[in-house]
Symmetry: C3
Subunit: 241 residues, 3 copies
């Protein structure tokens, strides 16, 4: 049983989970795809990733779940090789062997019973939608968060606004009209923790879609593995104090 | 009422005040120039800056004083735009609106009564004078300060020396003769805190003039805004323990 | 009495001693060479360096020993000059004058009686030997040390392995066969502290030879001064807990 892929792909998969502070991953390896869904310890944020098997250069795993320690896997990603392979001797084996750049890392799997089960991604119908370049969204979040630890996002009259939430009349707002966006529609107005948004948005390459509601969770959908796979972040709104 | 300028110019103006640790600025906006004079909280250092109105691409402010929070203004300078504009609705308004790269930052002005009045720059006749490239002066200060938290500067017999002040016989001295200086004249010998000199000298671009006396303040005069405006630092001497 | 050399050479000499955490150096200046041997405060590691006099552009010192403070000498190396000279007025002088980039640093010598005498480098016949590019060895040490604070090195059947020592079955191993090495021979198996190996291996340029035994010290031999001089590190093994 062996998976082989570009190191960059495995790094992307792991970084997305780290974007909500996850330390452990329950990876589902199915015939046609690898996927996970993970929730942060505070139950505020979720990440999900789904990668079709053909994004891997080798994919000969028995359908199974493996629970991995993210930190150990990341160490192996730093060894400098362009490809990485993950081998599990059999479905009974309690370890994986990660090979990269000539290094062979034996990593005990986490015990299935100790790792949280897959959370349900709630099926939300969000009234607002924005399409934007991921890196531009990340820059806006970083700039606004220098002013406040809470960020309000609003869609109103075809304009998407990201703004700080300060005490007093101080305020920073970045309004984005249609010419700065790929697309915008509907309405929405919700408040979020900037810390989560910052670490999530670091992992957004390419074009992303943002679903927004009124005091509702935000859902950020994006591509992984150069468009082959897909990822999703969900972040619960904050209630204003 | 609106000022518009290159972001770089506003950054220069603000950095010079930060070079003495200032947190607040009382900006004087007059018909032909913008200026400030500020003293540090320990009454050891002063900075002054004067920028003619034609260094701004737009300059339509009523003559007035505004007291701004340096940190808030700096945040807006980091948004990534090449130009920045500062608007105040009227002379009665207690806020400015800073616009940069499509961000709109509303910043409450500090209350006039709480911000220290402009200090007087003492009119000193200093017997020694050095003309030197600002960046070279900054490098010398940085090097000598690795050895000591006090720095002595001496002009004697046409040589300008910068030296560490250590206990015992250990000592580092950098003597600069006429071929390493733009100019040197007179005599002087004073001791200064290296911390202040380091943070001041970071902001010295182009050629600078240094006035030196005997146990007297140092005055560093330099150009701002590519030669359009001018700046000045004054630092009180330290008395040897 | 004066030594002049490229700043880079003096930096190399000093960095090697710093690689075992040395703070003081007893430099032997002899007719044909400059050398030192130094042991770390924990008696776990030794460094020795020997530079022939012709590696210096000026070498007119009376045969003598001088005890220098490494930190003071390093400061002077940061002044930015390509050449550095070290002058001692006479054999009676208790200071050296270090000149670099126009800076003149007077450094009191450490008192001979307070600086540890030269340790003996034990004459070991180590059964295993590896020749490897120094920078590649450093990279392997850095990678393996992300996993463990102890590193085991093994030569067996013509393969040199570097591996982490973890509790449980987790493990990272990098086996190097003949095509990744310049040479390998004999047998050996010893355990070392990764902290020492990391800071030592940073200073290994060019090709290095590693001598390995069974629960015996490691000896790393390397060239200094672009092949003119030579250096040696010795590190005592750790006993497994």
């Amino acid at each position: 049983m062996k998976l082989t892929a570009k190191t960059e792909l495995i790094k992307e998969i792991v970084d997305i989970a780290e974007g909500i502070g996850a330390l452990e991953l329950r990876l589902h390896i199915e015939t046609d795809k690898l996927w996970y869904r993970v929730v942060d310890s505070g139950n505020v944020a979720m990440a999900s990733v789904e990668i079709p098997s053909d994004a891997f250069s080798e994919y000969s795993f028995e359908p199974s779940q493996i629970c991995v320690d993210i930190k150990k896997l990341k160490n192996a990603l730093g060894f400098g090789g362009k490809e990485i392979s993950i081998t599990r001797q059999s479905l009974e084996s309690n370890a994986i062997i990660v090979e990269c750049a000539g290094y062979k890392s034996t990593q005990t799997l986490l015990h299935d019973a100790t790792v949280r089960k897959d959370p349900q991604m709630p099926a939300l119908e969000l009234p607002g939608s924005i399409d934007i370049i991921g890196k531009e969204f990340a820059t806006i979040i970083k700039n606004i968060s220098t002013e406040s630890d809470k960020i309000r996002m609003v869609i109103s009259n075809g304009v998407f606004s990201v703004e700080s939430v300060n005490e007093g009349q101080d305020n920073v707002v970045k309004p984005l009209s249609t010419d700065e966006l790929i697309g915008v529609s509907g309405e929405g107005n919700s408040l979020f923790s900037s810390d989560y948004l910052i670490s999530m948005s670091r992992n957004l390459g390419g074009d992303v879609n943002i679903g927004l509601g009124n005091d509702f969770p935000i859902i950020i959908s994006f591509y992984v593995a150069g468009g082959h796979g897909k990822g999703k972040y969900l972040l619960a709104p904050r209630v204003e104090a």
